[in-house]
Symmetry: C2
DNA sequence: CCTCCTAATGAGTGATTACTCACTTTATTA
DNA sequence: TAATAAAGTGAGTAATCACTCATTAGGAGG
């Protein structure tokens, strides 16, 4: 199911264990739950209506998921753990040297790669963002396995290109924040705030990348 | 209650009609509701517990607010309408010429000003962000009176400095997106994602402003 | 056909929900 | 002080909540 992550093709998209060992009814439950959670939020979604939408008895939900919250976690955690997947690579330094000569190349690869991922799992990503503040497990898991990993790897990348003299000498944490918010800002505008607008993705990504590069260019 | 907005001191902070004509118990209700909405979200907050926390009978809530949702809106809408207050000024062009010679000055003023606002109303801003997706009235009101206004004024500003040759010639909508997300990114990191960290606000704001300036500088 | 086994069911559970209303207390004005 | 209005109360309401469990359905192996 997973590609070999041998350092060269680590930016591959991977399946987020979906519909693998689930029964037919289970899939319908998950589908209905995702719809409802997105429309009304987790708390405002009742298990009875989820069952109704899935065309399933309410008891069936609780046969597969002990609680309503378990259902949420089953939906949301696999996506979360794959959000930063492209950063989890053993020999980052080697990858940087061989694949990404400039910070520009790195940025472009990340943006393109994460765009396909977000586009694919957008509803669940939305639910995740919505519910993170209210569920301790989600918060800790996010901090431990997403934010920390992301930050650590990103920091290495920044320092790498600072040493090469490409990037301005500011605290890496600030450079990370500025890079990530510019990228997230694009995704936010593109897929959440104004998805109905006709976007020239190629061009908009290019603008964003150039914006970051100029903003962080060594003076 | 409001300062005169005569074009020079339009970046003043204004009171968001709080605690003006409210009774003592009403204030306690609002305070308890804000706490609960922030902790558990709107849907997961029960009116019975809000009443309990406020030290008030449950009926008292419904004397002042017809429904639970009315309570939410009463809390959230005044803050929303003041979010973009500094942009609502009659003669923007004049202000630009007299007060802000460079885009840099404009940016710095906006960031500083909105920081005091957000810091002051952070809990309600958080609730607003959380609940916007689930309440049609909030969404439309946000689009009509916040996003639209903000966008229109910001567009004028961008075009103004593009004409002056300060800013790169890219679509103003893109320049707005990049500017705003960098600023919002700072607020997000500063007050929501990692508020517990010790921030050197002055320095971080300076970095953010310079990042935007370099990113959008005419080549 | 019988025996297992698991998936699926849906009526039933007590708790909780947002909200009402007849009534009491407090404040305002004449 | 008497009259009127406004603020506050809390027991009561029907509806809905997440969840349980005894029962049924259906397929596999013998």
């Amino acid at each position: 199911m997973k590609k070999t992550e041998d350092g060269t093709d680590w930016l591959f998209d991977e399946e987020v264990n979906e519909s693998g060992d689930l029964t037919e009814k289970q899939k319908r439950i998950v589908k209905a739950a995702v719809e409802m959670f997105q429309e009304k939020g987790f708390s405002a979604s009742s298990t009875s209506e989820i069952a109704r939408r899935a065309g399933v008895a309410e008891g069936t939900i609780f046969r597969h998921y002990r609680t309503k919250k378990d259902l949420l976690l089953a939906i949301v955690t696999p996506v979360m753990s794959h959000l930063v997947a492209p950063f989890i690579v053993k020999d980052l330094d080697k990858v940087l040297k061989t694949d990404y000569e400039h910070y520009e190349d790195f940025l472009r690869a990340i943006v393109k790669n994460r765009q396909t991922f977000i586009r694919k799992h957008l509803p669940i990503v939305k639910i995740l963002i919505q519910e993170i503040p209210f569920h301790e497990e989600l918060r800790t898991q996010f901090i431990e396995h997403v934010a920390k990993d992301l930050f650590d790897r990103f920091e290495k990348v920044i320092i790498h290109f600072q040493k090469k003299g490409e990037l301005i000498q500011i605290p890496p944490s600030s450079a990370i924040r500025l890079s990530i918010t510019a990228i997230l800002g694009f995704f936010l505008a593109r897929y959440i705030m104004v998805p109905e607008r006709e976007w020239d993705d190629e061009n908009e990504i290019e603008l964003t990348v150039q914006f970051i590069l100029n903003g962080l260019k060594a003076q």
